[in-house]
Amino acid sequence: MQPPAPSLSADEIRAIIHRHLALEGPLLPILHALQEACGHIPEAARAPICDALNITRAELHGVITFYHDFREAPAGRHVLKICRAEACQAMGGAALAETALARLGLGWHGTTANGAVTVEPVYCLGLCACAPAAMLDERPVGRVDRARIDALLAEAGT
């Protein structure tokens, strides 16, 4: 995965916002596009979004914080999502997640000290017939066991 650009210029931010203004309900697409471009929703984007959409700072903040996906600070270079939902629990997913977090010395949403990986909980990846499941960036992984988690973490550079 290409490390996301650390910051966007005011022009780049404006361009991303304007690219979506013709949509009906453009806010989520704008937030996704910003996060795709630089890994989080930069503080510098807030004022221009509010101006372009005619919403208050408080409304925007309310939206950003409502959704689990949006970040106010960048994540690690890789994101490992481990499923916590029922089908994965039925196959030992909870113990597996605990082991992985303990190995890294992290809690959920934590990022390793070297910035390699952020571990996040997810509630179902649609891989429930090959549980337990995880996703490294956008790559799905099924029937995860300790060995596979270790391999994923090694690949992510922990």
Partner: protein, 506 residues
């Protein structure tokens, strides 16, 4: 040589990409001209990656395949050979209407889609007027597959009758329930059927714009649907004259942002509009005041993707399958601790036990099955003693459960039912939209109360029952209102696990 290696994300999660690469390399090395198609999954997830090779016009299966099998697969003597795929028991026992093409065709080949019956439903619909299409859908008995089972024809009629120059078709592809993946498999394996279903709906109610609200946890489905929409546009199935001269219809794919509650239709509409995904009070119905306050059909992926086959084969054909008021087929998703997990489409009416034991083969661990959670995180835990319950909306309701999106999550006898009840409350607390107190605060109290039961506090169990009553009665939507189902079903069917230490000692 024609070869299929599923590109479905469950198959990829089990190594299908590596198998496809190994097959391509082996074919190259032998100078065999191989055309490898990344199809959808046939639904036999325990056999994935399931490679198919055409031999004398018949597709032979090999699975679960690993890259090292490539040479033997091409020689036809791989130990994981399964024989002709269509002859496997899992395939023969199904009634594949909605999923007829999934796993069969190249998902992004419009030519293959048409060759397998695609677009004939839309053509027939376009030759009829909107009201007649709605009559046909009503006569089929199709009910919403997203969870509530509301008759699709009645919903469409409400939008049809609503005044308004601009109407919308919104597809609910948020599929947040644990144990469900039918929407994902359909979108990854046969995306044009959803597009066709939405176009038929648009023609029926007079809509000009469609949205697919697709959860961000499904990057593969987002990619396939996005590409399918472009292809449909190039072919004129979408666009300015899609439904006839001057009668435009287009579709946009919108990515969710990781909120379970956004699967609830009014929360979804707020999210589409760029707001917090707070649930709206009903009335007004979304059918009358939906997206941007305009008349809107909100339907699940499977509901919409089933409409083409209804229009192609006729309402009577579809309604000929099923049980009582549950007409047609149900796309069962068998998951969790089960030997043979996957997708199985069959007429309503099979019993829960047949699905879990016959089809699923019991638990993956080989231990006795203890319970099955049916219908996602808001569905009840059904003990083995209720395995004779037939899969039908009314039948499950009578048994104190719900079918929901038809996910079956199997647990073996090591399952900690108090822990699962606690998780149901925790999940509700994490995902609550915050609008009503019984859900927002009640779920947090629920977690604490279950912890007190675990610690042996004898006064906690009656409190939990009261709390569940309050959540049921005082919640605006089913997140707060149905979380008591998994919690109280666990209490009811596995009382020993909720007994305090003192009671247990007696």
């Amino acid at each position: 040589m024609r070869i299929w290696v599923p590109g479905d994300s469950a198959a990829r999660a089990l190594g299908a990409d590596e198998v496809a690469e190994a097959l391509a390399a082996e074919a190259r090395a032998r100078g065999i001209e191989a055309r490898i198609v990344r199809n959808g999954s046939r639904g036999m997830i325990w056999l994935e990656p399931l490679v198919e090779v055409e031999i004398d016009g018949v597709r032979h299966g090999y699975g679960p395949a690993v890259p090292a099998d490539a040479a033997a697969i091409l020689s036809g003597d791989a130990p994981c050979a399964l024989g002709p795929v269509e002859a496997l028991g899992w395939m023969r026992r199904q009634t594949r209407l909605t999923f007829a093409r999934v796993g069969v065709i190249d998902p992004l080949s419009l030519a293959e889609y048409e060759a397998h019956g695609g677009l004939s439903g839309l053509r027939r619909a376009l030759a009829m007027d909107g009201a007649a299409v709605i009559d046909e859908v009503s006569a089929s008995g199709l009910r919403g597959r997203g969870g509530a089972g509301f008759p699709t024809g009645i919903k469409w009629k409400t939008v049809y009758d609503a005044p308004g120059a601009r109407k919308y078709i919104v597809c609910n592809a948020d599929e947040g329930d644990s144990g469900t993946f039918a929407d994902r498999m359909l979108m990854e394996g046969d995306p044009f059927s959803l597009i066709e279903g939405m176009a038929i709906a648009a023609h029926a109610v007079g809509a000009s714009k469609g949205y697919v609200y697709l959860r961000s946890e499904y990057p593969d489905a987002i990619r396939v649907m996005g590409r399918a929409v472009e292809i449909a546009r190039e072919a004129g199935i979408l666009g300015a004259d899609a439904l006839g001269p001057g009668r435009g219809f287009d579709i946009e794919i919108r990515k969710g942002a990781g909120a379970y509650v956004c699967g609830e239709e009014t929360s979804l509409l707020n999210s589409l509009e760029g707001k917090r995904g707070i649930v709206r009070a009903k009335p007004p119905l979304p059918a009358l005041e939906g997206f941007m306050g305009r008349p809107t059909v909100v339907n699940n992926v499977i509901s919409l993707a089933t409409v083409p086959v209804i229009m192609e084969k006729g309402a009577a054909h579809y309604a000929g399958f099923g049980l009582g008021r549950s007409k047609g087929t149900v796309t069962l998703q068998i998951a969790g601790n089960v030997k043979r997990g996957g997708l199985f489409e069959t007429a309503f009416g099979m019993t829960l036990g047949e699905a879990v034991n016959d089809l699923g083969g019991g638990s993956a661990t080989g231990r006795p099955v203890k319970a099955v959670q049916v219908g996602g995180p808001l569905g009840a835990y059904m003990p083995v003693s209720m395995f004779d319950t037939p899969l039908g909306y009314e039948e499950f309701d009578a048994a104190g459960g719900l079918i929901g999106h038809a996910g079956l999550v199997v647990f073996d006898d090591t399952a900690d039912m108090l822990g699962m009840a606690r998780f149901a409350m925790e999940f509700c607390a994490i995902e609550s939209c915050g609008k009503c107190t019984p859900c927002r605060i009640g779920a947090v109290r629920g977690v604490e109360t279950i912890d007190r039961i675990r610690e042996g506090d004898p006064s906690a169990l009656p409190l939990l029952a009261d709390l569940c009553e309050t959540m049921k009665d005082g919640s605006l939507c089913a997140l707060g209102g149905f979380t008591p189902f998994p919690v109280m079903s666990a209490v009811r069917h596995f009382p020993d696990e909720f007994a305090t230490a003192k009671e247990a000692a007696e």
